[in-house]
Each structure stands twice: as structure tokens, then as C-alpha cells.
Amino acid sequence: MPQVEIAINTVWVMVAAFLVFFMQPGFAMLEAGFTRAKNVANILMKNFMDFCMASIGFWAVGYAIMFGAGNIFAGSSYFFLSGIPDQTFGLPTLAFWFFQLAFAGAAATIVAGAMAERTKFSAYLIYSLIISALIYPIVGHWVWGGGWLGELGFLDFAGSTVVHSVGGWASLMGAIFLGPRIGKYRRDGSANPIPGHNLALAALGTFILWFGWFGFNPGSTLSGMDFGLIAKVAANTNLAAAAGALVALGAAWAKTRKPDFGLTMNGALAGLVAITAPCAFVSPLSALIIGAIAGLVMFGAVFLLERIRIDDPVGAIPVHGFCGLWGTLAVGLFHESAGLFFGGGWAQLGIQGIGTAAVFGWVVLTMGAVFFTLKKTIGIRVSAREEVMGLDIGEHAVSAYPDFVTKG
């Protein structure tokens, strides 16, 4: 490949990787904003350490498992990045590694939100290392690293399933093993809203995530030379986000007679998660429809989870789990040639179904085992007293806003 082309690819993918990295504060601000003031330092620390753990874990082990030569289940070379070739996919391998690391960090940090306001910090660090060094890279290997799902023809352009559903289903297991926050469900089983403490942070976080997604999806071309695809992916990504937000706004407005803040923010993310798999394979109009439906999927999932008394403070499971699933299946429906609605028949949809089911099963089993083990050993939940007082004081001995008078 000409030097100039490698240079263009590198510039493009590095910038995209920086944007994906920047999704970390997006998650941090969103999750902090959607939870209570007494747990802010804790959730920020979790988001912050997620990327630190992922950096070390994905350097030592994760990359080897995901992209090392191996079998269709897992890779097994390149531990500690030793022996990596100079270039991979037309990029310096370290650039490719860094881009992939940013994805691993995102998968890990999704879970912090669903487990917010009650998870022990030490247990969280262990979880975080395991998901970014093992659980996520194995799924990644299956789909992008030469594994069996990729070979089967499973399509997930930028990670609706690989990144988001992995994070979403891990969130589900975390929320189940933890149980709901004190005060979330009343004696009669009805849910008790626990409003987030700072909507300005939440909006900032959502905007930053949307911004970072322009690295996530368009960057997944891995090539700056693929300019037509870059443009299409960016346009599709944006349209799906807008449609998701609008539909969620409308659905909430219809149901509650008020344009709901939290669900609208989540609606944009729902659209973004859903379009992540199909963004390279569908038309702008399809992207818009996929995003719009994602708004509804998220909306329904929020109420479903509440009915079955799973407590997900920020909506991570509806957004990343359910919409990741929907987006991946949508490839089978809207793919411009292989999609059911475009004359491609049922084959692709079937493959997409197998892939999403396999990943669901894998994550539920392994993360279930991880959380079960943590619960039985060091414990995953803080004491009730600490939870009531707030994890900031209990776990970190700080107050996030010591100068302000708060309602506690």
C-alpha cells in the first residue's frame, strides 16, 4: 500500500480513536447526571478506572485473544503486544490496537451505569478487568478477529452486538445479581422514580457520546481511503440518532403528556446503538427507520425492566442491550442487498439471529458466573448503611459537592 494511503488511514483512525476515547467522559457525565449527588465521585471513579483497567488488560491479554492467531473461538498470540506485525489492516498495528482498545473501554464502562449507586468499588474493578481482558475480546474474536461468527457471515459493522450488547447484557446480569437500590421498589412492588441529580451533566454526556460516535462508526471503516463509506456511515449514524430522540420524545409525550427529558436523551443513544451494526449496509432512509424503531424499543424496555423489578438507574440495558440486539437484527432486514426488505430473503436475518443469541448466551453465562463468584467471595454490594449515606462517603470518604447544601 502506498505510504500516503497508510498515512491517511492512520490519521483517520487515530482521530476516530480519540473520539471513541472521548466517549468515556460522555458515559461518566451521563451516568453521574442520572444518579444522585451522594454517589457522584464513585461513579466517576468507576468510569475513570474502566479505561485504565482496559488499557492494561487489553494490552496484556485482550488484544491477543481478540486478534491473535488462534482458533475460531479465541486468539492466542500477541500477548503483551509481543510479536505484533508492523501493520494490520493497512494501519500501524499500534494504531489499530489503540482504536480497538477504545472500543473495549466502552464495552466495560456501559455496565457502570446499570450497577450505579450500590456496587462495591473493589468488586467493580475486578469485573472491569475481566470484561475488557476476556469476555469482550472473545466476542470480538468471534465476529471481527477471524472467529466462527465472522466466518458464518454475521454482520456487525461497528459493534451493536460486539460492544453494546456485550455491555448491555453484562449490565443485565450485574443489575440482577445486585438487586435494586434501596427505595427503588415500594412494598407493593410499584417502582419509585429516583431522579438524577444533574441534568446539565446528563445532557452534556449525551452530546459527548453522540460526538464520540462519529469516531465509533465512521472510524470503523479502518480506512480513510474508503471515503464514500465514511460519509454514508456518518450520515446514517446521525439520522438514526435524531430519529431515535424524536420518537422517544413523542412516545413519552403521548404517554405522560410531558416531553420527558431522560427518555429523550436515551432515545438518541438508542438510535446510535441500533445503527452501529447496520450503518455501512443501509440507506439513509433505512437508518432513519432503524433509529426511530430503536426509540420505541428503548421506551418499551425501560418499562419492561421496571415491571420485572430490575433496577437500571441510567437505562443501560434498554439502550445498549435491547437496541444493540435490535440494530443487529435490523441488518437482516434493511441490508441493501441481503436484507429481507430488500429482496435478500431470510438467510442474513437468520445468521444475525444466531449471532445475537450466541453472544447473549455467552455474556449471560460468563458474566453471571463472574458476578456470582464476586458476590460469594468479596461481595458486590455495599452495606445498606453505606448505600443510604452515599458511596462517596462510604467508599471514598469524599463529598462530590462539599460547598453546596444538598438534600442528601
Binding site: 422514580p193 431522579p195 420527558d260 431522560g262
Partner: protein
Amino acid sequence: MKKVEAIIRYEKLNDVRDALEQLGYPGITITDVKGHGKQEGPRRQWRGKEYKVELLPKIKIEIVVLDEDLGKTVNAITRIARTGEVGDGKVFVIPVENAYRVRTGDAGENAI
């Protein structure tokens, strides 16, 4: 001396202060409080679920006055803070045994 303790609506604070200014601008202490009496709070929602806020933000005004000023002070407050709808608040009168001005050390009526 008496302490007039009034719980009023937020939005009435400025009007009440204007009215008190007419009465010779007495010293005043104000606290942010929450409360409920007979008033229902406005509906809230969070991520699509409704809930009620039963404690509404109110303003507590404390003014220590000489006995002779008690009537007109209470009067001014109840008159100005009234909207006629539930939530207008209460005024309580509490005995004060003594008062001191920190700046000078003056005690009793001179301290007000």
C-alpha cells in the same frame, strides 16, 4: 419582644420585603425550607414515570420585633403573602426573652 415566624411562598418574598420596608425596614432572617400543609405539589416525572413531590419549597422569614410592632408586622405579611389558594403558608408568633446585638453588646429592646 416576639419572633414572627412566617412560612410563605417563594414568589412572595420580594413583595413581602417591599411591604416590610414601609414599616421601617426591620432586620430579617430568611431560610430556605420545604413543607407541606394542605397544598399538593406539582406532578413530576422521571424517565417516563410520574411521582409526587410532597414537600414543596417555601421561604421562612424570621423577624424579631418589639411587642408594639407585632400587630402591623403580622398584618403586613398575611396581607401581602396571600393569593387565596392553598399553600399560602402560616405565621407563628413566638415569645423572645431577650436579644443582643453582637456588634455592640447591647441587650434587650435596644438590640432590635
